[in-house]
């Protein structure tokens, strides 16, 4: 007997605003001007923060930093729809989403400067710490979503990761659990086309990243990640689904990592300038600007104010970060356990003794 087709699937690609800022009025969500401005200003703050971090790293004031440049719409368009009580699980490239969620810029800077206190999430903020091991944060977000479902709260959990993450088991296990247990979690893949040097087409033979969600029966959509309206629209639908108890959603934001992987990377080794230039033309901030201009809510004077405010916020944060008292060696030992065990007390005392010996030696050398 002939073979039958038992299942087929489609992947929808959502774009509402094109590269020139023209929108599809039928698909366009209703967004008050004040919100448009807020998003626009947040995107500028993120970019100013990004540029500053790069500069500070070059001056030796920060450690390795992972740039957001080009992915502002994917981060603002998703994180800004979360409620305060929802949870957000970032990877290391989500400085933008973290800023939207209210993480103080100075705290973020402290993190990138290699100070543990930069991961002390302010009380009342439901944002998780930065996950460095690729994809490891994805199942954690599913676990949090399970807790929300268990407790019957209407909270949702949102987790960010990149195209490379979807090659890891963590992603697949998380996706499967989320679907099996119908958990209120939103998976945001910022497909920025590169996992360090490996391009998207060498990472996976999947025609889209989004279709990986289909395998687990997770509603999955691909959106233009540089179009904030498409991102907002898909996210709103996902959150509605989560809050209604109808399970997870997977959103693939198709975007581009304009910068090097991190400040330690040199992307010119593995991709062409032309490719980067092509994507620079699709810049998410520029696109929103064009739309706002056409709506009559953008002019050069407004732009100057936005840039000046963004720059001031960042400069203030740098000052704050630089004026912070350095950590002490006690801080290294105090948070390993709720109560410091005797061995650690002994090790700490030894370290302090060694440090003071070193100081004495330095002093005597000076004399």
């Amino acid at each position: 007997m002939p073979k039958k087709v038992t299942h087929t699937f489609d992947i929808e690609y959502l774009q509402i605003m094109d590269e020139n800022g023209n929108v599809d009025t039928e698909l366009m969500p209703n967004i008050p001007d004040a919100d448009l401005k807020k998003f626009y200003e947040q995107m500028h703050t993120i970019r100013a923060f990004d540029k500053k971090c790069l500069a500070l790293q070059r001056q030796g004031k920060l450690g390795t930093y992972a740039m957001v440049h080009g992915q502002e719409a994917s981060q603002v368009g998703t994180a800004s729809l979360l409620h305060k009580e929802d949870w957000m699980f970032p990877s290391y490239r989500e400085s933008g989403a973290m800023i939207v969620r209210g993480m103080p810029l100075a705290t973020l800077l402290q993190y990138w400067a290699g100070d543990e206190r930069g991961q002390h999430i302010p009380e009342g903020e439901n944002d998780f710490t930065v996950a460095i091991p690729i994809a490891s944060q994805i199942p954690h977000a599913v676990g949090a979503a399970w807790a929300f479902k268990y407790k019957g709260t209407k909270q949702a959990s949102m987790v960010y990761f990149g195209d490379g993450s979807t090659s890891k088991g963590d992603f697949h296990e998380a996706m499967n659990f989320a679907a099996v247990f119908q958990l209120p979690v939103i998976f945001i893949c910022q497909n920025n086309q590169f996992a360090i040097s490996l391009s998207r087409n060498k990472q996976t033979m999947s025609a889209t990243i989004a279709q990986k969600g289909i395998a687990y029966n997770v509603p999955s959509i691909q959106v233009d990640g540089n179009d904030i309206f498409a991102v907002l629209s898909a996210t709103a639908e996902a959150l509605e689904r989560a809050r209604a108890g109808n399970g997870p959603t997977f959103i693939e934001c198709v975007t581009y990592r304009i910068s090097d992987h991190t400040t330690s990377d040199d992307a010119s080794r593995y991709r062409s300038k032309e490719e980067v230039e092509e994507w620079t033309k699709k810049d998410p901030i520029d696109r929103l600007k064009k739309y706002m201009e056409s709506k009559g809510i953008w002019n050069q004077e407004y732009q100057n104010t936005v840039e000046a405010n963004a720059s001031k916020k960042v400069e203030d944060a740098v000052k704050q970060m630089e004026s912070v008292t350095p950590q002490t060696v006690d801080d290294l030992f105090s948070y390993v356990f709720a109560e410091m065990p005797p061995q650690l007390k002994e090790q700490l005392a030894y370290l302090k003794q060694m440090e003071s010996q070193k100081e004495t030696q330095k002093e005597s050398q000076k004399k």
Binding site: G63, T64, Y92, A113, G114, D115, E116, G118, V130, I132, P133, I134, G164, S165, S167, K168, G169, D170, A195, I196, S197, L198, K202, Q203, T204, S264, D265, R269, Y270, P326, Q327, V329, D331, L332, F333, V336, Q343, L344, Q347, L348, L351, M354, E355, Q357, K358, Q361
Partner: protein, 321 residues
């Protein structure tokens, strides 16, 4: 040449010598590795021999195992030591045991190369010293070179070894030590320690990134004490003879390592000395190690691992017992 260049040269030589050698890992091909250890190798040997894999450490490690069992000699790179953990299932449950499980029918001649050590201003999980976990797993060889010359000889042996080898590369000294490294073929046998300096008052045992600091301490104290310095090179199997013979001669011992103190190599060596040279001891064995805390972020990381002061203090403590 520095250690990055020495390892690059070794890989190049082994790729040329043995057609079954294959390099797999993240960003090792076109990008030449994040530390540039594999720079130029894909260009020279092609994408079939030097392979950029998808981002998946479990995949890299477990698939390399399959390759090895089926007759290849994979050299897998895990970009940073802290990312090896997702492959631990396969390392502990299969890679280390296949020879024993099959009574020698199947073997696993593979190498996992990964950087370790702190002090490079990196992000979290890039600076760990986790060698004890692997030493504690029967069936694995664990090798840590301390210099470019050592790296070439040891890695050559590791690639040619019939059993799985975990090869930790001290990222802090990747470019910090330059020395003569012969272009031509030579090997340093696995399981043999190196007596870097002979001495009669005290034995100082270390390996990997800490050797540089230990040798500085040696220079500082050499006119005061006759110090025997042992570079373990291979942590498993451990060269017990060299350790015991030395301690029988000196009667004093300090073990220096960057891994946390608890259950580190110092604990094992102290126990070994208790078993085999207890009555020769003039003083208790001293451990100079990092603390039982997570590796601090970059601002505080230099407080974590032993510096020259801590090594000198350890030697003085034992000498003045």
């Amino acid at each position: 040449m520095n250690m990055v260049q020495a390892i690059n040269l070794t890989l190049k030589k082994e790729l040329a010598r043995d057609n079954s050698v294959i390099l797999i890992g993240e960003d090792i091909g076109r990008n030449g590795g994040v530390f540039r250890v594999t720079d130029g190798l894909q260009k020279e040997f092609g994408e079939k021999r030097v392979v950029d894999t998808p981002l998946a450490e479990l995949g890299i490690i477990s698939i390399a195992f399959g390759m090895a069992v089926a007759g290849l000699k994979p050299v897998a790179e895990i970009q940073f030591g802290g990312f090896v953990y997702s492959g631990m299932d396969h390392i502990i449950d299969h890679i280390s045991r296949i020879r024993n499980r099959t009574r020698g029918r199947f073997t696993c001649p593979m190498v996992i190369r990964t950087p370790y050590s702190a002090g490079i201003r990196a992000l979290e999980h890039h600076s760990e010293s986790m060698e004890s976990i692997f030493v504690h797993t029967p069936g694995l060889k664990v090798v840590i070179p301390s210099s470019p010359y050592e790296a070439k000889g040891l890695l050559t042996s590791a690639i040619r070894d019939p059993d799985p080898v975990i090869f930790f590369e001290p990222s802090r000294v990747y470019r910090a030590i330059k020395e003569e490294v012969p272009e031509e073929d030579y090997t340093i046998p696995l399981g043999k320690a190196n007596v870097a300096h002979e001495g009669s008052d005290i034995t100082v045992i270390s390996y990997g990134a800490m050797m540089k600091t230990v040798l500085q301490a040696f220079e500082l104290l050499k006119s005061k004490y006759s110090i025997e310095v042992i570079d373990l090179r291979t942590l498993s199997p451990l060269d017990e003879d060299t350790i015991i013979n030395s301690v029988k001669k000196t009667g004093r011992c300090v073990v220096v390592h960057e891994a946390p103190k608890t259950l580190g190599m110092g604990a094992e060596i102290t126990a070994l000395i208790n078993e085999k040279a207890m009555l020769n001891l003039e003083a208790p064995v001293e451990r100079v190690a990092s603390f039982d805390i997570p590796v601090p972020f970059l601002q505080m990381e230099t407080h974590y691992f032993p510096d020259i002061n801590r090594v000198v203090a350890g030697i003085e403590k034992v000498m003045n017992f």
